[in-house]
Amino acid sequence: MLRLPAWLMLVLLVLAPLSARAQETDDAYAALAGSAGIPSAAGFDSVRRGVEQLATSGDPRAAVVIGALQAGQLYARADRALFIKQPDGSFVDARSGAPAPDAAGLRPVRLNNAVRSAIDAALGSLRLFAPDAATRLAAAEAVFKSHDPAALPALTRALAKESDAAVKTRMQQARAAALLSSGDASEADRLAAVAMLRARGDIDARGFLASLSGQPQSVATAAAAAITAIDRQLQLWSILQSVYYGISLGSVLLLAAAGLAITFGVMGVINMAHGEMVMIGAYTTFVVQQLMRAYLPGIYAINLLLAIPLAFLVAGAIGVLVERTLIRWLYGRPLETLLATWGLSLVLQQAVRSIFGANNRDVDTPWWMSGATQLGGLTLTWNRMYIVLFAVLVLAALMAALRYTPLGLRMRAVTQNRRMAAAMGIRTPWIDALTFGLGSGVAGMAGVALSQIDNVSPNLGQGYIIDSFMVVVFGGVGNLWGTMLGALTLGIVNKFLEPVAGAVLGKIVVLVLLILFIQRRPRGMFPLKGRAVET
């Protein structure tokens, strides 16, 4: 008889926390449904609480449910039952994972930034044990950002199991941040944590250290010292960073100006419609993407590689057409060329506006061009790095084409001495058309690159025409090396002036400096020498 109450007691003992747990999980699920329907601060608050409760409840489906919430695939019914939308459009019950064919009247659970932060933190601590090292690294970083002391036990367990060195460091940093935020860490632990973050030395560590409050005196002093040390380090990096920004701006200028270096620099045509050739290149990219999405989705990832030659051909063909119909009548009359090409630029803009509409067109950035990588204290964005590389390749190809191909030889011959070239049997009008086409084609290729960083709109070219002329004139008309150095110099000067003078004043200062320079050296940095210049 005595055994029964004992057995009962045991059951009760086991069940009491279990049922409390189950109750907690129920609460969490109910709270998660809070923000479906009309948005309200209380609703979002409820979801945030739900995420936090669910993350600590130990519910095996917590990671799945919170993940679905993050992806916007969590739906709630009026009775607060939750469902997850599957990739195939069907629904499963969030709680059990069982298929729910009768799901109807569902509204998505809405997120706001506070909820999103809670999700990041919750998923961070839930994914610390994920099998994939990259996921664990991201999870540790999420915990670092949330620096929630509640994650400490999980972090300690994860650290004991961790084998990957990079992930381990990240976890230790996250643990340091959580320790500093907790109420009951010892002073020695805190000092060690500050040292750990000082060693990390990036702006996130600096931001976290600066946000600390209520620390013991010695820890506060150490944190202040760490901030000073990090600032000093960041100062050095920021100079390098500015150089990188300058090079990247320079490469954009170089791309935009390379075509003009041919049409204006080599041929002497003041082509105000140059920017529109760039714009046509960008629209070619748009069309290529649309067509590939419709007809060749299998190789969609390489759409930009396909767009580059096509943009060259399209813009080049338009260039040849323009030369044959318009420019060739105006050789030797710079003012009329200027007006005619300016008018042409308006015609081209309005034509594109009529065909594609006035709105910006959405050009995709492939995954390999999104985001950034960290190199020491430098943030290098992928799209800019590829553009720098692309600019170098375009310039190299252009120089090679001028120097080593028969066409390049003829182009140089015609521009240096037209009558002699004609006497040698070169069809000079045809070479003129091809040269202009080459310059326009290069502008078209620049358009492919610019579609990745700027608006694809009919006005795209206008923003670059002045800069392009500046680069070509500054570098020295007719000299591709000059164009390159001119672009880089302008880019770097601009990026060093911008933080000091502001973007608006910076541009003005650059323009004034340029005018002064041209006053001193009217032929630019690298003037062409020899007889060609005098004629």
Binding site: P39, N113, Q350, N359, N455, A503
Partner: protein, 445 residues
């Protein structure tokens, strides 16, 4: 089309290039007007549409021209106004501010338009303002703007700063605990005035001068690398930081792309924008931008039957199921319906009668409620805060419980804090100083 006809004298070519562009623009306008002018009836009422269809602002303004044509068509189907057909007169001021004034003069004196709907930028509004006052005609201005203006001849259906900027800042301050502010804008009148008001407002809320960073960039700025980096750096002072963006149209796409690439997430440093709507987002991949905010008085994602009907008729009218709707379109919707009601109330299209009749007119807005024209020629509006979603739409996270009355003169700017505008009978003044009891700017305001 080939740029130039082949057989032309050499001399004419230079001028011709430029002329051809103008011709193209005029052609487009002709096509639009002919359509509306085709129906004969017992008389017509002409409505001017003054929006740029070419140049930089075409991206935003073309849509407004289209929505006006749709509203006028719908009104004609309902039997016109005062028994007459409405006729749209579309002109193209080509994003050229002085041309706005010329075209406005043409609409009023030559075409005899009863009212004009138009302008986007504040510069263009300032440029046409003297024309409307001199010729005594009516302009409906549909875009959120910096306030500090109250003309008898203009009805402002967009938001004043207290109907957009200040509620947005309040939201960040209260919901996200933001303590440090970057005010980033394009360098022209709207951002400069708005930031001046915001700076004064933040200081009254106890924000230190060190915690405010103001940054201006030129129109169409495309290289945001070090500005985004400096925003990131500004955000490391240990206080929650947010960016309030008055960056204009075109420059937004590269700005948001750079934010996405440099990994500035909305959970770290949220950006709240006043000039970014569905239309602007249509040109970007919004996945890296999820959670950044915009404050408007209307979003396409507002869920109510009126808005659904509006969106459906818009998609049918434009024959494009992908066309988005946005806040200034809603402002024109409200403004046009107000004008129709005002004309019906006055029984005439005479400007003076309609100006008086318009005050107090109330029509449904698309955010679920009624907007009323106040004596200061601004309308009451709800304020919505939306977060950008992965599909380029906005997820509404906050909505003011009631409607806000516009403060045309900002109480946070020393020069204007005692001014009010009231165009009703005894006062009839756009800038009345309540302290001194005088009308400081006369009837001209």
């Amino acid at each position: 089309m080939s740029p130039v006809e082949p057989k032309l004298s050499r001399r004419g070519l230079g001028r011709l290039g430029a002329a051809a562009a103008t011709l193209a623009a005029v052609g487009a306008v002709r096509a639009a007007t002919n359509e509306a002018a085709a129906q004969p009836s017992g008389g017509v009422i002409k409505v001017g549409i003054l929006h740029s269809l070419s140049g930089t602002m075409a991206i935003s303004e073309t849509t407004l021209k289209d929505v006006m044509l749709m509203l006028i068509e719908q009104q004609n189907k309902k039997g016109g106004l005062l028994g007459k057909k409405l006729e749209a007169v579309v002109v193209d001021p080509a994003s050229n501010w002085p041309l706005f004034a010329e075209k406005a003069r043409q609409l009023i004196s030559v075409d005899k338009c009863a009212a004009t709907f138009g302008c986007w930028t504040s510069v263009s509004r300032k440029s046409v303002l003297p024309v409307f006052e001199e010729l005594n005609s009516i302009l409906f201005y549909p875009v959120q703007y910096e306030g500090q203006e109250c003309s008898r001849n203009v009805f402002y259906t967009g938001a004043a700063p207290n109907q957009q900027a200040i509620p947005a800042v309040d939201y960040l301050m209260n919901e996200n605990g933001v303590k440090r502010w970057v005010l980033a804008g394009t360098d022209y009148v709207y951002p400069r005035t708005t930031n001046q008001i915001l700076e004064a407002y933040l200081k009254t809320k106890g924000v230190a001068a060190d915690d405010i960073m103001i940054n201006y960039t030129p129109f169409g700025h495309s290289d945001w690398q070090n500005i985004v980096a400096s925003i990131k750096k500004f955000g490391t002072a240990g206080k929650k930081t947010a960016v309030v963006s008055t960056i204009n149209g075109d420059a937004n796409v590269p700005f948001y792309k750079e934010l996405g690439n440099q990994g500035v997430k909305a959970t770290d440093i949220p950006v709240v924008a006043f000039s970014v709507g569905e239309e602007e987002l249509a040109g970007i991949d919004t996945k890296p931008l999820v959670g950044h905010l915009a404050a408007w008085n209307y979003f396409e994602s507002v869920d109510n039957p009126d808005n659904k009907a509006f969106i459906d008729s818009w998609k049918t009218f434009t024959k494009n199921p992908k066309r988005t709707t946005n806040d200034p379109m809603e402002a024109h919707y409200i403004g046009f319906n107000m004008w129709v009601k005002g004309v019906e109330k006055a029984g005439t299209t005479d400007a003076d009668a309609v100006i008086d009749a318009l005050i107090g007119v109330s029509v449904p807005n698309l955010s679920g409620g009624y907007s009323a024209m106040m004596p200061n020629h601004h309308i009451t509006k709800p304020v919505l805060i939306g977060e950008i979603q992965g599909d380029g739409q906005f997820n509404i996270v906050s909505q003011t419980p009631g409607l806000l009355v516009a403060q045309e003169w900002s109480p946070y700017v020393a020069d204007t804090k005692d001014l009010i505008g009231d165009w009703r009978a005894p006062l009839r003044c756009g800038a009345f100083n309540v302290k001194t009891g005088t009308c400081t700017a006369g009837k001209k305001a």
